[in-house]
Amino acid sequence: MYLYSITFYIFSLVAVLSALMVISARNPVHSVLFLILSFVNASGLFVLLGAEFLAMILVVVYVGAVAVLFLFVVMMLDINFVKLREGFLQYLPFGALLGIVLIIELGILFLTKSFSENSLSQFVQSPQINEVENTKLIGQVLYTDYFYLFQISGLILLVAMVGSITLTLRDRGQVKRQNISSQNFIDAKNAVEKKKIKLGEGI
């Protein structure tokens, strides 16, 4: 039991500290690496809560795919670190305003005590978590009660995918492409042609 709480404090401490480092690190690549560390620790917290499926999905989707592409892009950018820090004071008031609004909203939520377990369960139809695997539980809810929402989110992702392809696809004209199937169908009959050439005339 004590091992459990020690693990909880380690995970949450590292998650919060690395989240802080995401916004304070000077090098953008370091920021992304700290973001990844934060994701991994958040998934550790999910495991401690008993939500192992969510934890693994968080690692597979965000750390394994999204953050890789993110790191890929940030590594390729030619970033001028001095220029990046120039606008800091200019954006400070706006950022501070957003932060204050967020903190006040969260404070209101906690002070009115509407965030307790009983009131939350009125809104969310969740099955009882006891002995059934939570993969199965998510499946039971997602494909029954939230079926239409699930389909709509799939459509939104499809639209986003089609949109991003349309934006980036451009016809570059003279691109040489390899046609594998036509290469595979080459044999002695269609690759070599036998011609009789008359003397002194050529082809």
Partner: protein, 340 residues
């Protein structure tokens, strides 16, 4: 709760966990050394050479001699590199290739953590492997490693997609994400037989995921010197090397669990089922590892665009189609496992 004693609450559970980890990782690390030896020996036989034959009987201690030589060399960190990330990259590669072993069931109940989402955990750990390579390539601050890292990032993300669909196909037939249950579901027939195309797709994707030939473009020596670990020397190089081979063994054990019935004997008849499960498991892993080495000895390297074409245009549609076919088959013949 109020009577906290270090001994009962911390030392004993912690000690048991550490002992279990040691019991699994020590054999894994030692088998890495013998895998390197076996690879050199098998390649030598394929190419009609002798292979290592000096250190110890039949050269069997060659890997230990190599490791000792590497560890006593100077560890050079390039002056323009990003030092912390540079040194962190091999450690991450090594740790991730060992972390997956926590959920591998070697025999019934022979597993450190029998978690419900075992296969997801393995998939997550193997998808994290790309970070060691990207970080190494970026932190080296050098052209060849960077190119190797970019190739690797694109390659591993592409092949993970088809690996994911192959895993889903298997899960449809099992009805659980627990690795022990996946093995138990193969008691009647190994999944390699009904899902043979997916077995092939998984094996080829595993080659790409572990950066093995014919897909070893991240470390392609004829164009990129040594790819992402060009700048590494001594102990940090050893960590990359160990990590790569340990993740090869991990991927083969994943293949064995998903498709070749884990610890189960091929037929449930007397002389075969008297052999302990862990021995069957190891024999099957050795078979898959032999395939890895065999492929390395016989196939030429893919060109990069061919690699991407294979991943996205052939494996992805094929595995997607197979998911739909398997799901349809299970529903039509009313064979869905643990239906509600």
């Amino acid at each position: 709760m109020n009577s906290f004693s270090y001994f009962h609450d911390l030392i004993i559970p912690g000690g048991i966990i550490i002992a279990q980890i040691m019991a699994v990782l020590m054999p894994v690390l030692i088998s890495v050394a013998f895998l390197v030896y076996a690879e050199r020996k098998v390649l030598a036989l394929i190419q009609l050479r002798r292979g290592p034959n000096v250190v110890g009987p039949f050269g069997i201690l060659q890997s230990f001699a190599d490791a000792l030589k590497l560890l006593t060399k100077e560890n050079i960190v390039p002056a323009n590199s990003n030092k912390i990330v540079f040194l962190l990259a091999p450690i991450i590669t090594m740790v991730l290739s060992l972390a997956g072993w926590a959920v591998i069931p070697f025999a019934p109940n022979w597993v450190i953590a029998d978690i419900n989402v075992g296969i997801m955990y393995l998939f997550a750990v193997s998808s994290l492997g790309v970070y060691g390579i990207i970080m190494a390539g970026w932190a080296s601050n050098s052209q060849y490693p960077f190119l190797g890292a970019l190739r690797s990032a694109a390659q591993m993300v592409s092949y993970e997609v088809s690996i994911g669909f192959v895993i889903i196909t298997v899960l449809l037939c099992v009805g659980s994400l627990n690795l022990s249950k996946i093995v138990e579901a193969q008691e009647t027939v190994w999944f390699a037989i009904p899902l043979l195309p997916m077995f092939v797709v998984f094996f080829i994707s595993a080659l790409a995921e572990t950066n093995r030939l014919p897909f070893d473009l991240p470390e392609d020596e004829s164009t990129l010197v040594a790819g992402f670990f060009t700048e590494y020397s001594s102990a940090s190089f050893v960590l990359f090397f160990l990590g790569e081979y340990a993740s090869m063994i991990l991927m083969s054990s994943m293949t064995v669990i998903l498709f070749m019935g884990g610890w189960l004997p091929p037929f449930d008849i007397f002389p075969l089922n008297a052999v302990p499960g862990v021995i069957w498991f190891v024999i099957k892993i050795i078979f898959i590892l032999f395939l890895f080495i065999w492929v390395r000895g016989t196939f030429p390297r893919y060109r990069y665009d061919q690699l991407m074409r294979l991943g996205w245009k052939i494996f992805l549609p094929l595995s997607l189609l197979w998911v739909v076919l398997t799901a349809g088959f299970l529903i039509v013949f009313d064979m869905v496992p643990n239906s509600l």
